[in-house]
Symmetry: C2
Subunit: 451 residues, 2 copies
């Protein structure tokens, strides 16, 4: 359990540790035949541990052969170096080459551009930028589980293959097998879930506080920086919660996991600040340190109308489905930080949202963040059977297929609220990386199913 | 955060708590017009909290209307009851009916048989058996994440939609959309992943210790108690590990999460012992308290040959792919507990397994448990490029498709080992339930895509 991360964080504790053994990968190998510095990385952090090799006991011909990316085993003494750029180094007494890299190993230096790296998803996590992003991704995911565990949430596995396509919005992928008979039965629709929400709702009635954290799928042919065909969603659902409660939950969860990730990934944020976004920590601190901005959709429209000349779509009036340009203005300029827009017109929102008294709006919210736009979408669910059925008919959803969901309203449902967090968008927001392809190990987009 | 579970576990702490407010669901409503007992459940545990209503301040006509499954809000004083069967009760000062159930609510008593409950997956978790199983499922899942977090594992998201079908074994589902052009490109295979292992291996080189916890899919038309088309897998992969190391990891992980779940789900295990399997805790304690049995495949064959008359397949010799009857004999009779069988003939094992010196076997293991058979399958991976390529050609896998995976061997791969744990099989083993359909919220099997 003695990782490079721990060693670098606690140089005094590890100082003078003799016969320390580590297996890791080479990040650089420089020096001469008398003194050699090999930087090694074990994946615990983006930072390397410097191995120093000196004296005649080493075979420098062998050392010359050790290439970037090679796996080696080193034994030596850890020495704190308070005056050097690195806090501690490993003075080797022995070194063993476990597995070298061949000449076609693509990561020969750290300067490969990020688009090229997308062609080699099986090795790109061994560069500093991707290593930082992927370490933050894993830490964030684990902190999200931790948050829900600590708050007594039930971890729900909604089905992935489903006959319901959730919102009716977005294209769903079809699932089939090679047999002549349809696997799930004649005339049965089988698609990949675009959300786990409807099923999570059924479990919220009974388990009260539930969440899913699972892959979801959209067959959207749009080729943007923000869209992928396969992405992970976090979807909490809480019985007895109303809109305000779930906005608070979203805010509290985000602040908690961001703070924890900032604390755990110090070196990775250092790296990203130096190379991707100088303002990264400031931006996140502004969010975690402030009260969440909340604005009514109707008021947001008024604000947008004041500056409409700057938008491509200038038809700013009640009923407008906010485009990215509008969302960015609200988050990046008007509030300069995350903002929850609440009470949207029902016309462009999903059928299951609670219909407000005004007859025009639904108790929904979108959480917009700078640089990303919509990070979270959520709502209070419509608990009234008749109102829900009315919308289902209006929108033209097949009632028979969704009857089980309607029936929940007759079975002790006192209402629930929840939201969907696009996990990769959160990783983008937190790393400062602006393309979803760089924050998921093997991205799937239209035309791309590499490896 | 004052859940019924906590209240029942700490009656003295909660004793005399006044104006205690709780929202929950009714499990039973009995008594008369002077004294009423309403058992409520909030999903934190299978046990109920008894609400006592007495005196004239209550409208007993209203109380008569409150049906099983209804959502109610109660305010009252918690009173420890050391002499009663339940340790504490809530003496109500006010009660509010939030949402009743209609007459077609299917859970009218707890005696519905478990097969019938499979028809109503949206409400069956509100029965005691399913509530217990699903609570244990969630606890286990969270403990698995906790185990890997505590041991510095990277949480890996392998792709779900893939052009690789992993083992080449098992039927993969196809993924398509409705557009005339194939979504992922002309002549691109797109299937649902049967394993996340190959991609996890690429991340183990660089991050050292990684794990996935994600849905996997098999279009198997077999209709058994153990098979589902959609199930969750836990797949750790550790660089520099050999077979022995990963067998130890499997054993340690299982023991740790089982012990933690036993401690956290006391009431649920009480219930399952009373109703499903009297021997449940004994069986689990035998496992968590003993050293794992390990037997070489060749020795297992000798043991099976000694008692071959009891098997349907009596052709017991080296090369036999163990059937369930053989696995059960080993786990249930020979060892009476979990056993890891190691070093299988390569003929029926996956192409990526390390080929042993004997030229006949591979460094694989199956962890067999009583009642289930195979719970875990794992191996040391073949790190030698030539050996791996040879098997790929022998088996007839398209080399071009798998070249990226082969290439890892040239890029600083010093070997890794890992395993796949069928999560639902673990839940079956731990709950004593013998059908996979009862341990996953919305089961998908051939012919069944209900809701």
């Amino acid at each position: 359990m003695h990782t490079i991360k721990l060693i670098l964080l606690r140089p005094n504790y590890y100082n003078n540790w003799e016969d320390f053994t580590i297996k890791a990968w080479v990040d650089s190998n420089r020096g001469n035949n008398k003194l050699r510095f090999i930087n090694i990385n074990d994946g615990s952090t983006v930072k390397n541990l410097q191995v120093v090799l000196k004296g005649k006991e080493f075979d420098f011909n062998l050392l010359d052969q050790i290439k970037n990316g090679a796996a080696i085993k080193v034994i030596g003494t850890l020495k704190a170096t308070p005056d050097a750029p690195q806090p501690i180094e490993l003075v080797a007494t022995s070194i063993e080459l476990l597995s070298n890299t061949e000449n076609d190993y693509p990561i020969q230096n750290q300067e490969i551009n990020i688009e090229t790296l997308r062609e080699i998803p099986h090795v790109r996590h061994r560069t500093k930028t991707l290593r930082s992003a992927m370490l933050i991704r894993s830490t964030l995911a684990q902190e999200i589980h931790k948050y829900f565990m600590a708050n007594d949430f039930y971890l729900m596995s909604s089905p992935i293959i489903t006959s319901n396509d959730g919102e009716g919005a977005g294209e769903a992928f079809n699932v089939s097998d090679n047999s002549p008979e349809p696997f799930f039965g004649q005339n049965k629709k089988a698609t990949l879930g675009v959300t786990g929400q409807l099923h999570a709702e059924s479990y919220a009635i009974g388990f009260k506080k539930v969440y899913t954290f699972a892959p979801t799928f959209r067959a959207e042919h749009s080729n943007t920086k923000k869209h992928a065909a396969e992405f992970w969603m976090v979807e909490p659902e809480v019985a007895f919660y109303e809109l305000n409660d779930v906005v608070k939950l979203a805010d509290h969860m985000l602040k908690t996991v961001i703070k924890a990730t900032l604390a755990k990934c110090k070196f990775e944020f250092d790296y990203l600040e130096d190379h991707i976004d100088k303002n990264l920590r400031n931006r996140l601190a502004l969010f975690t340190g402030s009260k969440l901005n909340v604005i009514d959709y109707a008021d947001a429209i008024k604000e947008l109308a004041k500056v409409k000349s700057r938008f491509e779509n200038q038809d700013i009036k009640f009923g407008l489905d906010l485009a990215t340009e509008h969302e960015r203005y609200l988050a990046e300029e008007l509030f300069n930080g995350p903002v929850a827009v609440i009470n949207f017109p029902k016309s462009f929102k999903a059928f299951y949202m609670h219909q407000n008294e005004d007859g025009k709006t639904v108790a929904a919210f979108d959480l917009l963040v700078p640089g990303i736009g919509e990070l979270i979408g959520g709502s209070q669910r419509e608990v009234r059977y008749d109102k829900l059925l009315e919308r289902i008919k209006e929108i033209g959803i097949d009632q028979e297929e969704i009857q089980w969901y309607l029936d929940l309203r007759k079975f002790g449902d006192s209402g629930s609220s929840g939201f969907g967090l696009g996990f990769e968008r959160l990783v983008m927001y937190i790393t400062g990386l602006d393309n979803i392809r760089d924050v998921i190990p093997y991205p799937r987009t239209t035309g791309n199913i590499r490896m």
